[in-house]
Symmetry: C2
Subunit: 290 residues, 2 copies
């Protein structure tokens, strides 16, 4: 099964950004991709660099957005993983991945569960933590364990998705460097980000697909310089081996073949799920064991 990850930059406005993304979806579909994954909040700039209520307007089109991406999925006959800004009511928003079936119907949605709040990534201002739990989404190309960005640092999220039957883990994400950090630190950050996601493949015996944005986006508030999104979208197999990886600068449509038979083979010889000591895991439900 052929998949495509669409690694894009922000084009300065919503219309052009969406238009360019749709062009890539068409290309990927024509090249045989059945599952297409977009990066986190792909309609706009990564607006969480500052805290400004004006950005809630982006969520105002939530229902129209669903209609629009439904049309795109149907027109290209692909399963499409989008990442949208969901408005439930005024003052209550989510960072939500919506998955569309090849016929344009909504296969399911996932509300980002782990919300970061770090300098330049002020997501707790914008997004209420998800309340739908870690539920894979059944589609015609398999049961998709869709998670979003900050979730990628949490082995718990990947494990629960797998225990609920996810056949692959998918992370729309938006992460990058601050130009002020030195090269060694930048390399460590990128390496940690790839490593933690590869580890979810290994621990759970599932392929991992991670689609990141690319390009520099200035902090519109002018407080910080901005974020240089590091791309490096990748697909790894159930042993955590990279089978496709994009660069850190250019837009890319990254293709990979997912082999469900390989998942079974790997899991049968590395049967980590067999030996979990569930009766001794109670402390996982605690904040900290003081």
């Amino acid at each position: 099964m052929k998949v495509a990850l669409v690694q894009k930059k922000y084009y300065g406005n919503t219309e052009t950004t969406i238009e360019k993304t749709v062009e890539d979806i068409k290309k990927a579909s024509l090249n045989g991709a059945e599952l297409i994954v977009l990066q986190e909040l792909h309609q706009n700039e990564y607006f969480c660099q500052s805290e400004d209520t004006k950005f809630f307007d982006y969520a105002g089109s939530w229902e129209e957005d669903i209609t629009f991406w439904s049309t795109v999925a149907k027109a290209n006959r692909v399963v499409l993983v989008t990442s949208l800004f969901e408005k439930r009511t005024a003052g209550l928003y989510h960072n939500t991945a919506v998955v569309f079936e090849k016929d344009g119907t909504v296969a399911g949605k996932y509300r980002k569960m782990h919300i970061p709040d770090d300098p330049g990534f002020y997501e707790k201002f914008y997004f209420t933590p998800g309340d739908l739990g870690f539920e894979p989404i059944q589609t015609s190309v398999g049961k998709l364990g869709v998670l979003v960005c900050w979730d990628q640092w949490y082995p718990e999220a990947a494990r629960i998705m797998t225990l609920r039957g996810a056949e692959m883990l998918i992370y729309p994400t938006a992460i990058g460097w601050f130009d002020g950090d030195n090269e060694a630190e930048k390399q460590r950050q990128l390496d940690s980000w790839i490593t933690i996601q590869r580890s979810h493949a290994i621990a759970n015996g599932v392929p991992v697909l991670s689609c990141n944005r690319v390009g520099f986006e200035a902090d519109s508030a002018g407080v910080m310089h901005g974020i240089r999104f590091w791309g490096n979208s990748f697909v790894c197999d159930p042993q955590g081996s990279l089978i496709a990886q994009a660069g850190s600068v250019d837009e890319t449509i990254l293709y990979a073949d997912i082999d469900h038979k390989r998942t079974k083979e790997v899991r049968d010889i590395w049967p980590f799920l067999r030996d979990r000591r569930i009766e001794a895991y109670g402390n996982l439900l605690k904040r900290y064991c003081d």
Copy 2:
């Protein structure tokens, strides 16, 4: 704080193997190591390649073994992490890490919780799964999250140790290649093994120390060819960056400096423990969510 991992081969008999290990402990201590970690079941060959009751005799010296390694720790004034074959009674044995304080007292012990059983690694025949839970061991060089080999594939074990206050994760281990596998598969296996352990450092913001055996050991039953233990003992920092790594062929005393201040810095800026969704983690206590 200087640590040393003693990566050794098996010398054909228990006496010589122990003697060579003690020599390395002396060297490491003279070179300033305060914490020394030995590989899994370092007194003997990796006997779990076959199922034979004769090997239970190795556990017969369990109490003398503790006395012996206590003397070694005290003589070299080091905190020593050993990996021994524990006899509780006939027909009831554990794979147990015993940690000794610099004065030779027993700081604590950990009974391997996750027990593998794969071709060439028939551990379920020998070891009852541990019943002491995931409890770090307090020592004069910090609170040690000691786990053993197969545990390294389980994010749950690393997480609970961290939630219980472990300041570093330590894995005595014995893992290697079958010569019959092709080079690409061997590389994937080694890479997966390093990656999953580095991921525990990243997810939990703690250094990881992993001490593996090296050298070829034939299957004494003659059923399989044998295991070529792949060494590659390593230490990584709380971002998962490798700060020391041994090769795959030679015996090595691997030194590294552990910087507790760095742990605090990394955790404060990558505050993954802050955002765990503990109220949504209940499924982690299930075998599978059918």
